[in-house]
Symmetry: C2
């Protein structure tokens, strides 16, 4: 049967997942769970300090290259930690499905972020949770075992836990565990359709040509409108000087991660995606063995 | 005539004031301002790193004791910086009115925070901006020159700038400058009434008795309801385990700074205030000389 890992605190200031994992770790004592779940605090040092990361972004340390690089005591903490997690969840526990809990300042609601539109398990879970999937093709290959999906939820400021966000994440994780429990017991899950947003590109904030400082905020008409279609000519940024800048693309696309706080340093004001309805096949535990 | 200082970035991850000060510094080149304004980036190192502070909270370094303490190269950066600012704004420029720009994750709207309900200038500016004042009596005496008022606005995540918040702060600062300009030219400002919220106490998050970890989030019914009357028995926290905790005070009070991100480390989930309508006298420039 399939083993699930639930990880919180991959980013140490994303508190919904951190408090949810702490709560799950407390409850593990009674041992009555119907599903085999390993619960992990991914970056305990960053969580302790309530910062995204201590030395480098842990969520960028799960490439095959990073996981096989030689590390020493002087390596960045997160480089060492990613190899520890890979050993713990990949080699020792042979986890089949990993749910990495994240939250965002963007108004994304609840969604799963994954790396392939052929990941039927992940898309079936989206169907079960009545949420959509975001596909982000990354330039490097992620360790498949360790990064099946991220559960993303927003809006929530970093360093803050909002009760409704916590509860929605808690319910999402519970539904995911229910699905796996049913799957493991041989239930047939009928095929169907799932909305999938596939990332096309990132858009940076407008910047001063000399200082490279950000010179505009996301336009009020776009702020909080994640997954709402953005048409060519629609307002995109409002400069601090008062000028409106418009979306100059030729194709209407779906924005998401609009004004995510952690992406300022990465030069990303928002991402743009194409939406598709993906047909997923029926699955039953045996069919995948 | 009165001299104004506008300070942003006292907390380096409160971006509305940081971008507003940068914008004002750019515009200062034309020298056509009707009011003498000195614009200051209070904590440039923290702003550069997008953190609240580098070594210690600058906003707690303006006590008379801190401002007169001997400092050396090994002193915390913010201790040195507070004395630099005090010299710059207090001694050298003899600023009469200081507007320190802050933002909060709490849904406060725009308000002024000050330290006396007899500060007629500050309360007149509140009347002019059609906003209320919060009075926070601090245990230590602040340097009067340097801390006449903080302009606080929310909700906005730390490390994020939201266009509507930026614009509201920009308008607030402009109205404050207009008021001072009129005041300096001898305009009589009629007296009237201003809503004043005087802080009574802080409430911490519920915590696990052993680990001291936070065990509940602000209740959904209270979240974002800053300055809305909280009655005895009203829901206050929702535990991660599902239990609702209620406000057990005997007196209905007004909550503010509800679930402010930076106050987790200070053990403050919200503050409670009494509301009064304060009568302010008419003022004219000469009457205060």
């Amino acid at each position: 049967s399939s083993h699930l890992a639930v990880c919180g605190g991959t980013h140490g200031n994303e508190l919904a997942g951190i408090y949810l994992v702490r709560e799950m770790l407390k409850k593990r004592a009674d041992g009555t769970e119907p599903v085999s779940v390993v619960t992990v605090m991914s970056n305990p040092r960053a969580a302790q300090l309530c910062v995204r990361y201590v030395e480098t972004d842990l969520n960028r340390c799960f490439t095959r290259a990073a996981l096989s690089a030689p590390v020493s005591e002087t390596s960045p903490y997160e480089m060492i930690r990613s190899q520890e997690l890979n050993a713990l969840l990949g080699a020792q526990r042979s986890v089949d499905l990993l749910c990495d809990l994240h939250n965002t300042t963007a108004n994304t609601g609840l969604c799963l972020i994954t790396y392939s539109d052929r990941d039927w398990i992940c898309l079936h879970i989206c169907k079960h949770l009545k949420i959509h999937a975001c596909i982000i093709y990354t330039p490097t290959h992620h360790s498949k075992t360790l990064f099946l999906s991220a559960m993303e939820i927003g809006p929530q400021p970093h360093g803050v836990v909002r009760s409704v966000i916590f509860s929605a994440m808690q319910e999402g994780v519970q539904l995911m565990m229910d699905w796996i429990c049913q799957f493991n017991s041989g239930t047939l899950f009928e095929g169907g359709w799932v909305d999938v947003y596939t990332m096309v590109k990132n858009i940076d904030y407008p910047r001063d040509s000399e200082t490279h400082m950000i010179s505009a905020a996301v336009h009020p008409d776009l702020q909080d409108r994640d997954f709402c279609l953005l048409h060519p000519g629609d307002p995109m940024f409002l400069c601090f000087s008062g000028e409106t800048l418009r979306y100059r693309g030729k194709e209407a696309l779906y924005p998401f991660f609009i004004n995510e706080g952690a992406y300022y340093e990465k030069g990303v004001a928002l991402s743009l995606a194409r939406k598709r309805r993906v047909q997923i096949p029926s699955v039953r535990s045996e069919t995948l063995r």
